[in-house]
């Protein structure tokens, strides 16, 4: 393979993950070509060339890939047939279409875990949600669409059979609700030559009132033994799915001390944002090293960190306006990352804030301040 400098990288998806991938690609002098259906996508002004088009349309994706050296994704919902055709044509497609295909289907994901002895919560595959009635032994449970669920969409909580009345009318996974003590994520990277490494686990902190993720922090509070177990599992999943590039593995630590795989994403991940400022190597650089088959970087922590998603404030839609930027930036160790989205809407991911501090507890306090102070309104 020729040098990474000047190589042409095709990226399917032009959102914030693509944006941060491009920021890192600049260090390697990569040419970046981006495809996204939204002409106003966050990458539009940053990519070396930006193209508007459907990621799920076969011909669009095949055509897009003609003049690049390596093709990667920043969102899983892409046309895998097209990626397979590009692979046949000799393009390097990482992650491979085969691994994306398995991951696109939550049912296939679950079957993979089961077949490979990877701990995951008990489940059954349903053709339609109304089949829940035959599996009341799994309740309370979550009903998840097998395809195209994203950011919490496509999930129904089924406590009792009554909740299944409006159940999805499509193929689903019915999954027993785990007794969760903690939620963590481990991001792994794997390169074609075989090297595979894991980042230290990141822990999700949920607001005790409304049960939404408040912030993520690293290092996690999980015991070293469980952390090692989580890392081993994540590495096993990465190799088992034959992922090349990054794989983010979201896991539950149960109240009885087990680690269960929840779901995975074969790309840079929300839980890895803080690596840019807090780890030796960022997840974005690691992804580039992996897909260009270069030596993977150290994942060691430079400094403890907390990451807060900056979501569009409820009740506001329209051109985004940021309130409190000055106040939060006046706090030592607070760093702003805006995604360049023109329009805000309730809960839209508009940016994130990374807080670093040699003292994790202090960083968590600062993160709370950031959450109360920084608002995206219209």
């Amino acid at each position: 393979m020729k040098s990474i400098s000047g190589a042409r990288l095709g990226i399917l998806g032009g959102g914030q993950l693509g944006r941060m991938l491009i920021q890192s690609a600049i260090d390697f002098n990569l040419y970046t070509k981006v495809l996204d259906p939204d002409p106003e996508a966050p990458c539009k002004d940053l990519a070396s060339s930006f193209h508007t088009g459907s990621l799920t349309d076969y011909q669009t994706v095949v055509d897009f890939g003609q003049d690049v050296d390596v093709i990667t994704i920043e969102i899983e919902n892409v046309n895998c047939d097209a990626l397979e055709e590009l692979q046949r044509q000799g393009k390097r497609v990482y992650p491979t279409p085969e691994s994306i295909r398995t991951i696109q289907d939550k049912g296939a994901q679950k079957d993979f875990y089961k077949a490979n002895g990877i701990p995951t919560s008990e489940y059954v595959l349903l053709e339609k949600g109304d089949e829940v009635a035959a599996h009341t032994d799994l309740l309370p449970a979550f009903l998840k669409l097998r395809r195209e669920g994203y950011d919490g969409r496509g999930v129904q909580k089924i406590e009792t059979l009554k909740d299944a009345e409006d159940a999805f009318d499509k193929p689903c996974v019915l999954e027993r609700k785990a007794d969760i003590a903690q939620e963590i994520a481990v991001i792994c990277a794997r390169r074609p030559s075989g090297q595979v490494v894991a980042f230290p686990a990141v822990e999700l902190f949920f607001n005790p009132e409304h049960h939404l993720v408040d912030y993520l922090f690293c290092p996690s509070s999980v015991s070293e033994a469980l952390q090692q177990q989580a890392e081993d599992i994540a590495l096993q999943v990465t190799a088992g799915l034959d992922v090349l590039g990054l794989l983010a593995v979201e896991m539950f630590v149960t109240t009885d001390g087990k680690v269960l795989v929840n779901e995975v994403a074969p790309r840079p991940h929300n839980s890895g944002h803080a690596t840019v400022r807090a780890n030796h190597t960022s997840q974005y650089e690691q992804h580039l090293r992996a897909i260009f088959d270069l030596p993977l970087g150290s994942t060691a922590i430079k400094i403890p960190s907390v990451m807060v998603n900056l979501l569009g404030e409820a009740g506001f839609s329209g051109p985004a306006r940021y309130e409190g930027l000055n106040e939060v930036m006046a706090t030592e160790g607070v760093y702003i990352h805006l995604y360049g989205k023109l329009l805000t809407r309730p809960f839209r991911k508009m940016g994130h804030v990374t807080v670093i501090d040699t003292d994790l507890a202090a960083a968590r306090e600062k993160a709370k301040f950031v959450q109360h102070t920084l608002k995206v309104k219209a």
Copy 2:
């Protein structure tokens, strides 16, 4: 002032410093407009809009600045009359044209140090190099062109009067050669509201054989007391010159334990590259915070670092080819930053490498390995 998000930043100069400034500007969702005489400048594909034109032509610079909110520089050799006109029109120009004007002229710089009691080596201003004969008491000395010297160009070493035979035929500074124990640089940042901070000193390591800078490292080996003195001096120069944005202050520590200011640059600086990976705030983000009058970030060190300039190998000119990338990237803590310059030529700055390690001595060893291994050829 309106929010930084979406603001329009004009940058005079499209080289590697502009490139890394843009990488940081992405985090704030800035629109970046760049002017450079070279249509192939490193910023050409990264700026939101890139314009080819002279930085020293009055009308070109005035026209360029019409539709931006803030104007800054990444090289000092710009038309200050044009910047003053833009300032008159109500544009925010940081650094101010007045401070750039003083810094552009090494003679005015020296007079400023003298007038403000800032320690600097003894000197005299000459209309032409042949006046050296009247100042043999200052020898051995350096003869520096007052204007447009850059990266070691425009400097002559005058040991004896014989060396003055081919002396510059233009206005110069004749400067007594200091007995240098160490060379350091301190980068300061100052914002319109008045806040001013300094980064920890970076030390230059010279190859004992050929006396060229081999690498820079941080923290420096200079005593804490001298480091504090250097920082105080750098802050004093920054305020005294009324610099807004960054000021890199290069200093000598003499064999008899004095700190002398060598020269300054009012912009991101080569000696600050490692801040991207090694300090809480990078020099690029700090410059943006300063010129948009936002709270300045912590300059604390996250991890010790060494920075190696990646120069075009002697004897090679033409399309650049990078040798040894794989080997150096396989070394833990080694990070590559390429500037996207198509053509290499002897000693051209083609990129840099940052080495981070909790043990500075180990980082210095790795830096030596990088220097022996990574080559830019044609």
